[in-house]
Symmetry: C2
Subunit: 660 residues, 2 copies
């Protein structure tokens, strides 16, 4: 029997997919997903290979082995299902299968009526080698086969029939003699998240502005009364800006005034005062008990509360006195405040991650997350993660998810593309995107194709926001109500994860502080607001419908199937999403021009969606409940911003077919 | 002073290019080439980075550091020149440059007329930190700067002018205080070859058919008389099939007849007889001394002799008796001969690389290469490398090139694409390609774009062959003389490396043995041939001209600039090559239809080649010496297979401009 030798190491495994940066980073999946793995696997010469995909739940010492299937051009494919939260590993193994090689050559020789008497003896040898492994019962069977192959009583055709038959193949596959075994040198990782990591509908709200009909500071109790309003609209995540005590020193006044008036509440992102830091609740909002009760209440409405994590301090934060070594001190004995010259943020002290006490700092920040997890929070929206070390986030998220794999981290990094992608690779569950500034057909098409149809989809889960407390875009400012509708439909259908900052959004608030910045006039960041959520002009009912469509149509609950379709008008954008089995198939058409009616012909590839070119089919607009009868790949659409500037069609495959 | 800490490791280096399979394989360059390296490099926050490219000749303990330049979107670029044969390493390093960061912020604050008195003290600290390193003279200077920054006698504007000035910048760049230094974890390799690896013109010939005007077995002496003929045509590599003793057992007769007649010479690839094996010369060709003399003679004609390395044995090879453990023995006591069922090659015994004595076998095969290197051979064409273990080739080539970096290995692997690419990655200097079977415009365009405009160019150097002793393509068989001209022009201009198997090629030999295979009728592999090289119909003069054009026009001596241009006729293909400085600019147009005249409009992007849309320019057909005056991007061409079915234009940029 030939031994495995270094020199006999003949099998190559390369081009493994999915694999992020040579295995440096994990891919992401949702519980219940199938992980499909492909690789280029080959050997020298003409020998036949057997290939297996290996996977295991993290911590399990044993690999589960799944045979891989040959596709073409040296490409192999296999898959496994991830059924638990946490991490899985996968890798590959392949070996020269001399018995299969021998069978294949034998079949060809038999076909060509060549003398194969010596081949039978070789086959007997191979079966004998395999006998080393099997159970008693199989041993007997295999010994019988060896005897038959040696026997002069058995005809050549009977021998050939035996060894090329299913039974021999099955047994020999069960006890493979693996020669030149190659194991892929890397163990690749899958992070498995819960469903909400892929499909979530966020509503951002300042709790302090929730005292309905009153100018006083809102409380968690006031927020409870707002829950039905938010839940009715169909949101499932309620995200609060920081709820911690706010500093007094250098507090900002209304409209970012460097000097605050006595009753100005300050920005919630200037965290920390005598009343506590990142583990405390701003007294005017209520107590920690109130907050916990609020979380429970929200859950009854199907709303999960997300907290803002902003790792920075006001000058009054307890850390400044207790841990001066966590800040950068200037030669004049002051602490370096945040600045982006010539801009100054005197109310914010950044943490100094280059401190020699970085380990203590990291541990303390981790304890902040664990503290809020203990209070019942499982979703964190992280403020400006790109201004803290990358290594810190990778450590923090992996530490937290070890015990709480259900935690979701949303990265609020509006920065350069490579940094946004790196943060996602390092562990952030979801990420803000450039959607906020992508308004034109080509840029939306290009950007969302990159996010959903390249390797980026393996690690980056987009969360789309048409507005935030920091960003009132030109498009919303200029376009008003039709623009708000357009951006809502785009966010809610391009992104399985999306959110709005309300009530500013549903009330179509579009007044800017000035021309230079994207800040709101009288921004809620610096003052209490009273929103008239019962306004006749509110988009509440429209949002309710859109979120209902998302809930009822699984096609809209993932981004992986996103596909753009040509329209002969640059102001009209058209795209579809579908489930793998085509049971849910949604086609969206949006008029990007908030001023004028636009019309055009959209072009669908009907085969792709299982439709017949020669039969009419129905498309039902879920926004208006109007159904159209279409035929062929080209169909006419017309959208008026003064009415509803979008269609969300459900394509009814079944109905059309049964009617014809 | 802040110490570098693990937690302070803030710089990311990724997306390094060129880098093959995560650094597993080297890139290839020619002596004198510039290696341009790019990478994505960034840190958290807004700090300024400094980035350096590090490189060294293999064996040199010291890295040479080259500053890299910022491009855009976090991309950096640097380059170095490889001036010696052998291997180089390169990697990258980057660090947070706190002084540059400070300068940049200071400049913005000064611009905004902010108070910067504390900033000056910070700058003084940074300069003091840097003083640790410099020479005495610089120490004094820097101490003076620190004093100035502290001095109340020096005005703020004078301080700002000082620290933002070129002198301070230069000195502080010389003594950088490197914080958060990141070094790319991989050292990447460049294999540097000689010029001929990129630009070579091959002529394959059976020496035994060189006895001009006689039917006797040719000798090396006869070959000497053929040298002027080959050299005049402009070839620079003369490649011989195996020159070793040929086995008698199971020798093949004419046209691959399983039974040889007494005077049949056998195929040169059935290597080994009582007269010796891979280190011996077939006695009928001459002696080893004759061969060495022939190599010298060839060199006088500018021809380098390439040998065929076919690691396989005839049944009579001395290895079979001396090293039975290097072969696979069957249960009936015979050696397994080569087969590809149902085909049998009884005259060939493959070596058994899965032998337990694989180390001795590898060493012996290496000694074969070293033996021929000692005789003066520096180019090896390796027969069927894909049927031997990949690890063997990687080891063999790297072992040989350690002492002889000038050796060139050409891989004759006509196999599946991933295997062809892997062999190139493992070390083969040049590779056969699918060119032999690519005849249609779209497939030529697609294939050569893949070879020259993707990462493949970093490791795979195509060598284009319109014919070989094994392959008379359908196109040549059916098209005859015009097809031979077309394929010659394509090979010689698409490929800076190309070769022909002659005299079959120049004599337009196009008779097939049968319809099923690509074998020549009366193939030279099995018999002596007498070629009438003086035939009036020979393509000798045409080949001479084409090879002359290659020699005189540097654009054709590399494949990296290859670019296809649209023609509104699928039978016409048009492409260009150019030097980086555009001093050599060649445009090729070929009629792929060997039957009919074809015409069409070609479309050039004039800006790309430095031409003016509004001025006429001249294109000189180097095949016919006819010059055309063209204007604009669209120009008409017409090519007749009964005349010359190709243009090789030199575009004269200078002349056209001076005439207008």
């Amino acid at each position: 029997m030939m031994e495995h030798t270094e020199g006999g190491n003949r099998v190559i495994i390369e081009g493994v997919s999915p694999e992020i940066d040579g295995g440096r980073f994990p891919i992401k999946r949702i519980i219940g997903d199938k992980v499909v793995v492909e690789a280029d696997i080959f050997t020298d010469g003409h020998d036949v290979l057997s290939v297996a995909l290996l996977y295991r739940k993290e911590g399990d010492p044993n690999w589960i082995e799944i045979p891989m299937e040959f596709l073409a051009n040296d490409r192999w494919r296999g898959s496994f299902v991830v059924s638990e939260l946490g991490q899985y590993q996968y890798t590959l193994t392949a070996w020269v299968d001399r018995f299969k090689t021998w069978q294949q050559n034998l079949a060809k020789k038999v076909e060509a009526k060549q003398d194969v008497s010596v081949d039978f003896l070789e086959g007997a040898q191979l079966i004998e080698e395999a006998i080393m492994q099997p159970t008693k019962r199989d041993t007997k069977t295999m010994q019988d086969w060896v005897a038959s192959l040696h026997s002069s009583q058995v005809s050549a055709s009977a021998k050939a029939k035996l060894v090329l038959g299913d039974r021999v193949t099955a047994v020999m596959t069960r006890y493979p003699v693996r020669r030149s075994v190659a194991t892929y040198p890397r163990e690749l990782t899958v992070v498995v998240d819960r469903e909400k990591a892929r499909f979530s509908t966020w509503y951002e709200m300042f709790p302090r502005s929730c005292a309905s009909g009153s100018s006083r500071h809102g409380t968690f109790e006031d927020c409870e009364e707002r829950l039905s309003y938010i839940a009715e609209m169909g949101f499932d995540v309620l995200y609060f800006p920081p709820i911690h005590p706010i500093g007094q020193t250098s507090r900002k006044g209304k409209n970012n005034d460097p000097v605050a008036k006595a009753d100005d509440p300050g920005t919630p992102w200037a965290i920390g005062s005598e009343e506590g830091g990142h583990k405390a609740v701003h007294p005017q909002l209520g107590t920690l008990d109130d907050f916990r009760r609020f979380i429970d209440k929200a859950r009854e409405y199907g709303l999960e509360v997300a907290l803002d994590i902003a790792f920075q301090c006001s000058p009054d934060h307890p850390y400044v006195k207790e841990h001066p070594e966590w800040f950068r001190w200037r030669p004049d004995g002051t602490v370096q405040y945040a600045e982006n010259p010539p801009k100054k943020y005197q109310d914010i002290y950044p943490l100094e991650f280059e401190t020699e006490s970085w380990q203590e700092l990291w541990e303390e920040l981790k304890s902040v997350i664990l503290f809020w997890i203990e209070q019942g929070v499982r979703i964190f929206r992280v403020d400006n993660p790109h201004t803290k070390p990358f290594a810190f986030w990778e450590w923090l998220i992996s530490e937290v998810k070890k015990d709480c794999p259900e935690v979701i981290f949303l990265a609020e990094a509006f920065t350069r593309p490579k940094i946004m992608y790196l943060l996602a690779k390092l562990g952030f569950t979801q990420s803000y995107t450039y959607f906020t500034w992508r308004n034109i057909k080509w840029e939306l098409t290009q950007y969302f194709t990159e996010l959903t149809q390249t390797d980026v989809r393996e690690f980056f889960r987009p969360n789309l926001w048409p507005n935030t407390p920091d960003i009132l875009s030109d498009y919303l400012r200029d376009g008003g109500r039709p623009a708000f509708i357009t951006r809502l439909v785009l966010a809610a259908t391009l992104g399985a994860n999306y959110g709005i900052y309300g009530p500013a959004f549903e009330l179509c608030e579009n007044r800017r502080k000035d021309k230079e910045s994207e800040e709101y006039l009288n921004s809620e960041k610096y003052e209490l607001k009273q929103w008239n959520i019962k306004s006749r002009n509110s988009l509440k009912d429209f949002i309710t419908r859109v979120n209902g469509i998302r809930r009822e149509n699984p096609a809209l609950q993932s981004d992986l199937s996103l596909c753009f379709h040509p329209v002969d008008n640059d102001q009209l954008i058209c795209f579809s999403k579908r489930t793998e089995d085509l049971s849910s198939l949604i086609l969206v058409v949006v008029n990007l021009d908030y001023r004028y009616k636009q019309s055009g012909w959209i072009e669908l590839s009907l085969e792709e969606v299982g439709l017949d070119n020669n039969r009419p089919y129905e498309v039902s607009d879920l926004l208006t409940d109007v159904t159209y009868r279409w035929q062929g790949s080209r169909n006419y659409v017309e959208l008026d911003p003064r009415k509803i500037p979008a269609h969300i069609f459900r394509i009814n495959r079944g109905i059309a077919k049964s009617k014809n």
